[in-house]
């Protein structure tokens, strides 16, 4: 029996009201729901305010380089597919410096849960425009308003062949936790994009602003996350930001395709030197 305290290492020191508190709580709730041992959970983070998560969450962790969560998490998952590997990034980490890695891990359908905490700003570096910052928004790096059109992670994921695409809101922790839980259970790559206010550097996209703009797809009559066209429509709604499980499909995971035997993880192979077998390979060079 696990409780949230099983995963609690330290009280976070994010700014009061930061959306990351909701993500922290939701991740713990999902772990409790799935009764994951802290030792069986690996959290891989990138660089940004979200990257502090590893300090607060009790589990194995890897806090690597800016934008590189995906390859690190892929390496871990393939070597020990029994682990629950959750990667956490910010919008800069996932959709700017790490965009290439994100799309490739997604297209490989590696069994990772990828939580992208999108606050539409570079917060740790004190408020520059990010790839999801609204067009025209004034930030530290865009004093006359951003001239870049924002990109949308879930839309990219849908176009690139994602097999589990969800969006949550850090102001709705229980809902977010259920999405993370479902993502963890998904055999393949699960993207959970999280609308997450930065109360210090982004005064525009506040909790109230999000509450006014989100639309729960599960409340849309006839919506099915199995229908790609509907998912596309929901993501392209000009008025509303779709949240919920937007799209899901079954496809073999990368581990299933490339590992000789998922029951015999690479991490615990006996590396004993098989002299006769290697000798036979050597004979090919005679």
């Amino acid at each position: 029996m696990k409780v949230k305290a099983s995963y609690h290492r330290l009280d976070p020191t994010w700014c009061n009201g930061c959306g990351l508190f909701g993500v922290f709580d939701a991740l713990k709730r999902a772990a409790v729901a799935l009764a994951i041992e802290p030792e069986e959970l690996v959290i891989v983070t990138g660089i940004g305010c979200h990257g502090r998560l590893n300090n607060y969450f009790r589990a194995y962790g890897f806090h690597g380089l800016h934008g590189r969560t995906m390859p690190v998490a892929t390496g871990i998952k393939l070597v020990n597919p029994g682990l629950q590997v959750v990667a956490v990034s910010g919008d800069g980490d996932a959709y700017s410096i790490g965009l290439g890695h994100f799309l490739h891990a997604l297209r490989k359908n590696v069994g990772l849960t990828y939580i992208v905490v999108d606050n539409r700003i570079y917060a740790l570096t004190q408020g520059q425009a990010s790839p999801t910052t609204d067009f025209g928004m004034v930030t530290m790096s865009t004093p006359v308003g951003s001239k870049d059109y924002p990109i949308d992670g879930p839309s990219l994921a849908l176009a690139a062949g994602g097999t589990f695409i969800a969006r949550g809101f850090s102001g709705e922790v229980a809902h977010l936790a259920s999405l993370i839980e479902r993502g963890m259970k998904h055999d393949g790559f699960a993207l959970i994009d999280v609308l997450s206010p930065c109360v210090t550097h982004n005064k525009l996209n506040s909790y109230d602003w999000y509450k006014k703009h989100i639309l729960h797809v599960e409340e849309v009559p006839g919506y099915s996350p199995r229908a790609k066209a509907k998912a596309w429509e929901a993501l392209n709604d000009p008025e509303k930001i779709a949240v919920g499980l937007i799209y899901e499909e079954d496809k073999p995971s990368f581990e299933e395709l490339v590992l000789p035997d998922r029951e015999k993880p690479i991490a615990s192979l006996d590396l004993k030197v098989d002299v006769p077998r290697l000798g036979k390979i050597m004979d090919g060079f005679r």
Partner: protein
């Protein structure tokens, strides 16, 4: 372990004159990319190897699939050889252009076969004893066998005649190559074409032109490239995860491993770029695999970021870097030694790293095995630095000794040990700087692999005192490590005024130069560095003290090794550079001449 090559004392040098008694010979196949030069050269090398001869091959090819000039040299010797000689004895050219390009290299009694419309014998003052034969390989292949592609096997048959090789050896290799993939009929036709080439050569050459080679017992030899040897070393060392992005000239390591790793329970993953390749290697290693990546110039630059992460988070990683010509995209199919300082001083911040530089294919295997043990023991990145010349060319060596391979995982705890640990600290400050490791899923071992400065448990810590202690802990890991490294090897004469220093695949040309100088009564010695970092300062200092004229031989423009020596040995003797930044590897002559000039 490190005993695959003969000791310097065991090397009996032969003089150039004795060599002309066909104890040593080089055959060049030349043509255009797409002509089958590679196939023909590879088969010839294998035939000669099975004849019992020592082999070194060298390819000069464009970064292009078809149409541009390419050549393949096979040097064979009864003695142990590591590099090419200065001469080519037989040139088999698929077009006339190749003759003009390579005429200066053809030995005085050399023989040239050429398939070309414009083929005429050069004027006598240019032939200097060489004989020239028009050999219409393409036309003959079409006439006799219906397809031009048979020209390669016809050429091989002809060479078998000229070299007086046992024809059954060629037949055997043809059968090995084609039987499984293409069936009996293809084998039969190719054997026929080889016979045809053999007879044709007898028809067009005089008996006196033959360069008969003695057959010798094979003596447990294999013919292998540096890249394959690294792959085999990785497999033997327990590497079970390999991630890489395609790049010339390193890809063969991966292309070789991809056939074997799954059978050993491992995985090979093609990544989207080299940033991912090294980060993925680190993820896999963190989770417990012996993991590796390989790359070359531009890829190595992309890896610099994660290289630093491996240093900070203390994650074992093995990176094979097969150097090619830079800067930028440079010349992807040409060899160079221009990326040495990048790995020794490169990336942001300061952290321990180990750079190994094999000089023979045997060392490619042995140092790769060692690289994995060093990476685990010192929990840091280990670079195996080679060059295209070593990586892609084939050399004979004694079959590798797998029974000598030991897998040493350093302070990686067992799950039992971990359970008995009261307060596990992944980055515990220890006397030797090396801390215990646990793996994800292990009870009692929860920790954070952290790229930020961290405390002993891996959690972010910006305390000034902690920073100092952590820097000192990491940086002292290699302080006592020297017994684990491959010490430099001294080759050549016991006492000599002339001393060469070098590393990697220049070894072959340097040893040839040592021999040629000895024949001219100039004794010399060669200090081969096999570990470039941590720098073997004591051995280099001693060698400098014992030599009068020092020549640092490098395949680069600025003398990176000499720069390194000067930075690590102080005061430092005067170093003369012998540098080559051309597209071709060193010839022995290019090393001998500056030495002789300096003594005039």
């Amino acid at each position: 372990m490190l005993s695959n090559w003969p000791t310097p004392e065991a090397l009996e040098w032969t003089s150039q004159d004795e060599r002309s008694m066909i104890k040593d010979l080089a055959v060049m196949i030349a043509g255009k990319a797409g002509d089958g030069v590679l196939f023909t050269g590879n088969v010839l090398a294998k035939v000669l190897k099975r004849h019992g001869w020592e082999i070194v091959t060298s390819r000069d090819f464009p970064s292009n699939i078809r149409g541009e000039s390419t050549c393949y040299t096979v040097r064979a010797s009864l003695d142990k050889i590591y590099g090419l000689s200065d001469q080519v004895n037989i040139l088999l050219a698929f077009d006339c252009e190749a003759i003009l390009a390579h005429l200066p290299e053809i030995a005085a009694n050399g023989i040239v076969f050429c398939d070309g419309q414009g083929m005429t014998t050069p004027p006598p003052e240019q032939t200097l004893g060489r004989t020239f034969h028009r050999f219409s390989l393409r036309a003959l292949a079409r006439e006799q066998f219906g397809q031009e592609i048979f020209k390669n096997v016809i050429a091989l048959g002809a060479l078998s005649y000229v070299l007086d090789l046992d024809a059954s050896l060629l037949d055997g290799i043809i059968s090995e190559m084609f039987l499984k993939r293409k069936g009996e009929e293809v084998v039969r036709k190719n054997v026929q074409a080889a016979r045809f080439g053999y007879d044709k050569a007898r028809e067009i050459t005089a008996e006196t032109e033959r360069h008969p080679l003695a057959k010798k017992a094979d003596d447990d030899q294999v013919l292998i490239s540096g890249n394959e040897a690294i792959g085999l070393g990785a497999l033997a060392a327990g590497c079970r995860y390999f991630a890489a992005y395609p790049i010339c000239p390193a890809t063969e390591i991966w292309q070789w491993l991809v056939h074997y790793l799954p059978g050993f329970g491992g995985a090979v993953v093609q990544t989207e770029d080299e940033l991912a390749a090294l980060n993925m290697t680190l993820g896999a290693s963190f989770a417990g695999a012996r993991a590796m990546t390989s790359t070359s110039g531009p890829g190595a630059s992309l890896m610099m970021e994660a290289f630093s992460l491996a240093g900070m988070a203390e994650i074992p990683a093995v990176i094979a870097h097969v150097q090619r010509m830079g800067p930028a995209t440079g010349m992807p199919t040409k060899s160079q030694q221009g990326d040495v300082l990048q790995w020794i001083f490169g990336s942001h911040g300061e952290f321990p790293r180990i750079v190994l530089a094999p000089g023979t294919v045997g060392e490619c295997f042995e140092l790769t095995v060692r690289a994995f043990n060093l990476a685990d023991k010192y929990q840091c990145p280990v670079i195996i630095l080679t060059e295209l010349d070593m990586g892609q060319n084939f050399r004979t060596t004694r079959a590798f000794d797998f029974s000598g391979v030991r897998i040493e995982r350093g302070k990686l705890l067992s799950t039992g040990e971990l359970l008995g640990t009261a307060d596990f600290k992944r980055y515990e400050i220890t006397a030797d700087g090396i801390s215990p490791r646990s793996l994800p899923s292990w009870k009692n071992g929860v920790h954070l692999a952290e790229s930020l400065e961290h405390d002993e448990k891996g959690y972010r810590d910006e305390d000034p005192l902690n920073r100092r202690r952590m820097m000192e802990k990491r940086m002292r890991k290699l302080d006592q490590a020297s017994p684990d490294f491959c010490a430099p090897q001294v080759w050549g004469c016991q006492k000599a005024e002339v001393g060469f220093i070098g590393f990697g695949s220049t070894l072959g040309a340097i040893l040839e130069a040592v021999e040629q100088l000895r024949a001219k009564s100039v004794p010399s010695r060669f200090l081969q560095l096999r570990t470039l970092w941590p720098f073997p300062a004591a051995e280099v200092r001693a060698f400098l003290a014992e030599s009068r004229d020092i020549f640092v031989v490098e395949h680069n423009f600025s003398g990176e090794l000499a720069t390194l020596i000067k930075s690590q040995v102080s005061p430092c003797a005067e170093l003369n550079n012998i540098l080559n930044y051309s597209t071709l590897p060193f010839t022995p002559r290019e090393i001998v001449e500056p030495v002789l000039r300096s003594r005039r």
